[in-house]
Symmetry: C2
Subunit: 151 residues, 2 copies
DNA sequence: AATGAAAATGATAATTGTTTTCATATAGAT
DNA sequence: ATCTATATGAAAACAATTATCATTTTCATT
């Protein structure tokens, strides 16, 4: 893996190395807007390189989360899901409505500029006050979807 | 269990019955501001009534979440945590900073009136647009705590 | 290009939080 | 007091995730 890419330095700064599997996983996340489960991602990686193990996928996703490149979501179905954090800064920025009964997820992107400004200010405040370097934030709205409201 | 309490109707409307175990669990949640894990809660219940099973605790917490009485949190340590949703409306209202590396949780309550208004408006909007009855919302801020920033 | 130490990987086993099952007990309306 | 839907407990089943450890790979330095 000789050629450098834009994320090469990001990995280096994190004391991590660039590998083809990691690049593949980033590509997969980059190519979709769905919330892929670890197994979803594993299957796709496996298509490209059948020798890749599930453990590596877990480890890579964990690393990406720590680097702030991926966002991990845990809804109610017992499996972690991931999406590229980079996406969220642009067009794909969204939050989630979660039905606490049937676990249906609806993406919600009708946020306001007001909200963006608010969170931007909050991040700065939290860094100062708690010395906590925020890389991402996620809001979940919990409730009952139309179907489940009628028992 | 003959005597009615304020939550009796809430249960009834949900097609659920009031039991002493459920009351105990509500009391436990009511008596703390910590984010208790299921096992934490089970241990406390067990002190009061050793015959209570872990399964019932899981089932009760699930029920309370669906009723909107409890909020379920999943941070990064692999166990679900709960707190009374009622508390969040008053003094105890807060969000969480989660260190993606060491999984430290810091409660954050320096929110603004601006934020409260924003979420109130959002709830109304979401009900109209998606017919989704919001019972609660949660914001997680993810990042690196002071220690983990210095590797 | 060869080297070597640190980091990444894969296969498997182990772990553990959570759910299912099913027979029994209980709540609460009648 | 009776009866039916609901709740419960114990144990087994389940499934996502993590730990282990020997092997391979990256990449900075020769």
């Amino acid at each position: 893996m000789k050629n450098k890419c834009w994320w090469h330095d990001k990995f280096y700064n994190f004391g991590a190395r660039m590998t083809s599997t990691r690049r593949t996983i980033i590509d997969i996340l980059h190519s979709t807007r769905e919330h892929l489960s670890v197994e979803d991602i594993f299957k796709k990686v496996h298509e490209m390189n059948p020798s890749t193990g599930l453990t590596t996928v877990y480890r890579t996703l964990d690393l990406l989360e720590q680097m702030g490149m991926a966002q991990k979501y845990i809804f109610g179905d017992g499996k972690a899901r991931y999406e590229l954090a980079i996406n969220r800064k642009g067009k794909g920025y969204h939050h989630h409505l979660v039905c606490v009964k049937c676990k249906t997820i609806i993406d919600y992107s009708d946020f306001t500029n007001n909200e963006i400004e608010l969170f931007k200010a909050t991040k700065t405040k939290l860094l100062k006050k708690y010395n906590f370097k925020i890389v991402n934030h996620v809001t979940y709205f919990y409730g009952l979807c139309g179907k489940c409201q009628n028992l």
